[in-house]
């Protein structure tokens, strides 16, 4: 039957079984036809096979037939043959290499449409070997005056370069006059080619910077020229080309003042003149904003860009709001104040029905939290956490923690307690966990006890908080009265005042028996730290003989146990935790007690709630040992690949966390986290990586190139490593940065990758 007849027949099948039967019958017929080497019907049969393949049926026996069709002289055969090759063959099979010769011949065919087929196929699915063999042909076609072929050759060259980066150089001569072309197709693909080359090689980038004026001119013509029916989309002339030019300008202008200046005017022009009523105009504006934010633009231009994003946020079109949030997330670090102006709109987006918009609004909200807005933001974020989907909870909890520890602690002394009004979230077993963390952070003891003491002065109703506060005062009361706090103004408090507070807890009817136990123990401990021993003795004797002896006993025992538990939080790369004094215990001390070591997403969702409890209490704390524990923790539990420290020298620490990239299991996604414990910022920070030849590496944009001092933030950057041969991952890293006016550079080997990251 003819192809369309077959399709019609198959569609009449009423059940899956019926369909399968028809398909099997047809396949059998096709197979025998193939065996008979029938040239006449081969094309039709392969076409039928392709249809059946799309329905999900196996079609591998047609692979060789595709090759025969490609080798045929009939255009119809070639058309179907190449289509079949692109659908049925992939570069993992050796069979595809048999195409190489055919493609080579067809690249030199007398008919441009045949050449086109060959270029298209090579540009879509050419393997590295094929690309190596045929690069020369592609290069030749890149120089042809036939614009139909030239445009295809340019994109084919892009593919060749992606597959075999070393071959990039050979295309350089052919790029000479590409931008002088009038044909938009050639222009567009040329810009794509130039973009690829500039992104892959700093030398190419410097070489092509001279094209900036020409690109600016082309863009200007597109904007200023009148209606051009051939390229018009809703009143805009060739938006595709405009967007690609803007992107190339971005790459050329980035980190180059002169180039950035040269494009300043055109960017302003595009930003102000582009029609915004349809998606196409907004697409161009969006690209313009991305470019402005990435190059060294003057502040007026940046403000213009952020205002565009602000308008986007108010657009009725969800898609526009989505990209606005995405972009604002990228710029919030560098243009914080400008983005703050749009905070209320962003917070409104937390209530959006769309999951993607919600997520972005959430991330952006975290980034916008500061000392001034924390109470309001807190309310919104807690409400969001309460009502959000399970998939969000762990991220949200983690984000809330990070936002508060990173921002508030250093910025706002008293603002965290509205957070604790969410008392219902907090469970009792969070207390020992928190106490452990506090113990661990030796250098923060004075600060912590002061903060907690102040908290008690404010409010003694939140039992877990009161318990932790009591415990701290018991441990570090001496630091409190001696005013040792460095991070904020030390308060003046006497031993008697401290004891007043603790005794107040004992008598308050807000205090539970457990809390009373904590405060009593704290008072007892202070007998070794304070000088007013007599007062303490009196208190203890009164309450020590309270009817609630059993509860007291339990509370006291518990506290003693806490002090003896070995702190065993996973802090790879951090300094070793303080060793336990004597009694070892097998009690797990991870924050999420009872979470199995098998990472499952369900655990994370369940853990989210438990985690949040701990996070609530921890909100008034800080980064412990300069590490974002919870970020690591969640990542660790979601991938099972432990994080690692890749570099730690001169105050610069670089940690790696891992994820698996989908859909390709051969790609490991590594996020680097760079932190700086010195007292001066590290600016112009650049991270470079090299891997052995069998790997391929991609580095995405870093979050910033300033690593703030005193662990006040991290720079993150994503690396994707393609490791098809599953070899042991090794990496060399090169770090450059400026510190206290001097330039630093260091080279280092990273060999301690966990096996799960490359196996």
């Amino acid at each position: 039957p003819l192809l369309r007849e077959l399709i019609r027949t198959i569609r009449t099948a009423r059940t899956q079984a019926e369909e399968r039967e028809m398909i099997q019958k047809e396949c059998a017929a096709i197979r025998s036809s193939f065996r008979e080497e029938d040239n006449t019907y081969r094309c039709r049969n392969v076409a039928k096979l392709l249809y059946m393949h799309m329905l999900g049926y196996p079609a591998h026996f047609g692979q060789l037939e595709c090759l025969k069709l490609i080798a045929s002289q009939k255009f119809t055969d070639k058309r179907i043959g190449y289509l079949g090759a692109m659908l049925l063959l992939d570069e993992r099979q050796d069979v595809h290499l048999l195409m190489t010769n055919c493609i080579k011949n067809d690249l030199n065919h007398s008919t441009q449409y045949v050449q086109g087929l060959a270029l298209c196929t090579l540009g879509c699915m050419g393997s590295s070997e094929m690309c190596r063999d045929l690069a020369g042909e592609v290069e030749k076609l890149l120089k042809t005056s036939n614009s139909y072929l030239r445009k295809k050759a340019a994109l084919c060259a892009v593919h060749v370069i992606r597959k075999v980066p070393e071959l990039m150089e050979m295309f350089l001569p052919a790029t000479k006059n590409l931008l002088s072309e009038k044909n938009h197709g050639v222009l567009h693909t040329s810009v794509v080619l130039l973009t690829e080359m500039c992104e892959r090689s700093p030398d190419m980038l410097s070489h092509f910077r001279k094209l900036v004026p020409q690109l600016v001119r082309i863009l200007k013509n597109l904007i200023m020229s009148g209606y051009s029916p051939e390229h018009d989309v809703s009143g805009i002339s060739d938006p595709f080309l405009q967007v690609r030019i803007l992107r190339l300008l971005r790459i050329l202008g980035r980190s180059d003042d002169d180039s950035s200046e040269a494009m300043n005017d055109i960017l302003a022009q595009v930003a102000t003149n582009t029609e915004t009523s349809k998606n196409v105009g907004n697409a161009i504006l969006y690209e313009t904003v991305l470019t402005i934010m990435d190059i060294k633009s003057e502040s007026g231009l940046r403000v213009l860009a952020i205002n565009i994003l602000g308008r986007f946020l108010l657009n009725n079109d969800k898609n526009i709001r989505y990209v606005a949030l995405t972009s604002l997330l990228k710029t919030v670090q560098t243009d914080h104040n400008a983005v703050q102006r749009h905070r209320s709109t962003i917070v409104d987006c937390l209530k959006d029905l769309d999951v993607s918009i919600k997520r972005r609004a959430m991330e952006l909200s975290f980034a916008l939290v500061n000392g001034n807005n924390i109470r309001g933001m807190m309310k919104e974020l807690l409400y969001f956490l309460d009502s959000c989907d399970p998939e969000f909870k762990a991220d949200c909890a983690s984000g809330v923690f990070l936002a508060f520890t990173l921002k508030t602690i250093w910025l706002c002394p008293l603002c965290h307690f509205s957070f604790l009004q969410a008392g219902s979230y907090v469970r009792d077993d969070s207390v020992p966990n928190l106490i452990q963390l506090i113990t661990n952070s030796v250098e923060m003891h004075a600060y912590t006890v002061q903060r907690l003491y102040k908290a008690l002065l404010d409010d003694i109703s939140q039992q877990p908080l009161v318990q932790v506060a009591s415990w701290c005062i018991g441990e570090y009361g001496d630091l409190l009265v001696s005013g040792q706090c460095e991070e904020e103004e030390p308060i003046q408090v006497t031993e008697d005042e401290v004891l007043d507070v603790l005794e107040g807890l004992l008598v308050s009817n807000l205090s539970t028996p457990v809390t009373r136990g904590y405060s009593l123990t704290a008072i007892m401990k202070l007998s070794t730290r304070f000088s007013s021993v007599n007062r303490i003795k009196k208190v203890v004797s009164i309450y020590g003989s309270s009817i609630d002896v059993e509860l007291q006993q339990r509370a006291v025992e518990r506290i003693m146990k806490i002090s003896l538990i070995d702190v065993a939080l996973p802090l790879p790369g951090g300094p070793a935790p303080a060793p336990a004094p004597s009694v070892p215990t097998s009690q797990p001390t991870f924050l999420l007690d009872g979470i199995s070591s098998q990472p499952l997403f369900n655990d994370i969702a369940a853990a989210g709630e438990n985690l949040f409890d701990s996070l609530c209490l921890l909100s008034f704390l800080f980064q412990v040992n300069g590490a974002n524990i919870f970020e690591w923790f969640i990542l660790f539990y979601s991938t099972g690949i432990p994080p690692m420290t890749a570099y730690n020298k001169n105050g610069l620490k670089i940690d790696f966390t891992f994820e698996r990239a989908n859909p390709n299991p051969n790609i490991a996604v590594i996020t680097i986290h760079a932190s700086n414990s010195t007292e001066a910022d590290m600016t112009d920070f650049v991270f470079q990586a090299a891997v052995p030849k069998t790997f391929q590496l991609q580095l995405l944009s870093p979050s910033s190139n300033v690593v703030p001092a005193l662990n006040q933030g991290t720079v993150t950057q994503v690396i994707r490593v393609l490791n098809p041969q599953k070899q042991q991952l090794r990496m060399r890293v090169k770090l450059t940065y400026t510190h206290k006016g001097s330039a630093f550079q260091d080279l280092s080997e990273v060999n301690n990758f966990p096996p799960q990251s490359w196996q």
Partner: protein, 166 residues
């Protein structure tokens, strides 16, 4: 031995694949611009179809899926779905999808799903004249359609001595 990643910052912006499928979840076209084995393609297709079909009408056209961004739009009974990399411009991808639909519409004359079902190979040919390796090779509608027209003609000429295949 070691090959330095010369890139300090690399914006990876390739379209990874484009899928067309009906509201019942039937695949009508699949164009892959990255090398994946059949099994992987099937898995991706199955999962992504489920995800997109579960989307409510008021949601935006973009979703994060695995480590990609998926841009999708429904035209009558067909979903057009593109997977792009994270740094790409989603809004222009919507325009790419729209352009492809316009090309199909012009070629088939008020295109509907049935046209794509019965003439799937033509849908591929048109796509391959518009995009190459995931990038637009021609930004003029007229030129794409002209090329297809000429290629179709070429088919006819060569076939003058052979009986109608289709």
């Amino acid at each position: 031995m070691f090959r330095w990643s010369h890139l300090v910052i690399y914006i990876c912006v390739q379209m990874q694949f484009m899928l067309l499928f009906s509201r019942q979840g039937k695949l009508r076209l699949q164009k892959w611009y990255v090398p994946l084995c059949d099994k992987e393609k099937k898995k991706i297709t199955r999962e992504l179809l489920q995800t997109v079909l579960a989307r409510k009408p008021k949601m935006c056209s973009f979703l994060e899926w695995r480590d990609l961004k998926v841009v999708y739009k429904r035209y009558a009974s067909l979903y057009f779905c593109c997977a792009i990399e994270n740094q790409d411009n989603e809004l222009i991808t919507l325009e790419i999808i729209h352009r492809y639909v316009e090309l199909l519409d012009k070629y088939f004359g008020s295109v509907c799903e049935l046209d794509i079902i019965f003439n799937f190979e033509k849908a591929y040919f048109i796509l391959d004249e518009f995009l190459l390796g995931g990038e637009a090779q021609e930004t003029s509608k007229k030129n794409v359609l002209k090329a297809i027209e000429q290629a179709d003609l070429l088919q006819e000429i060569v076939l003058e001595t052979v009986s109608q295949i289709y």
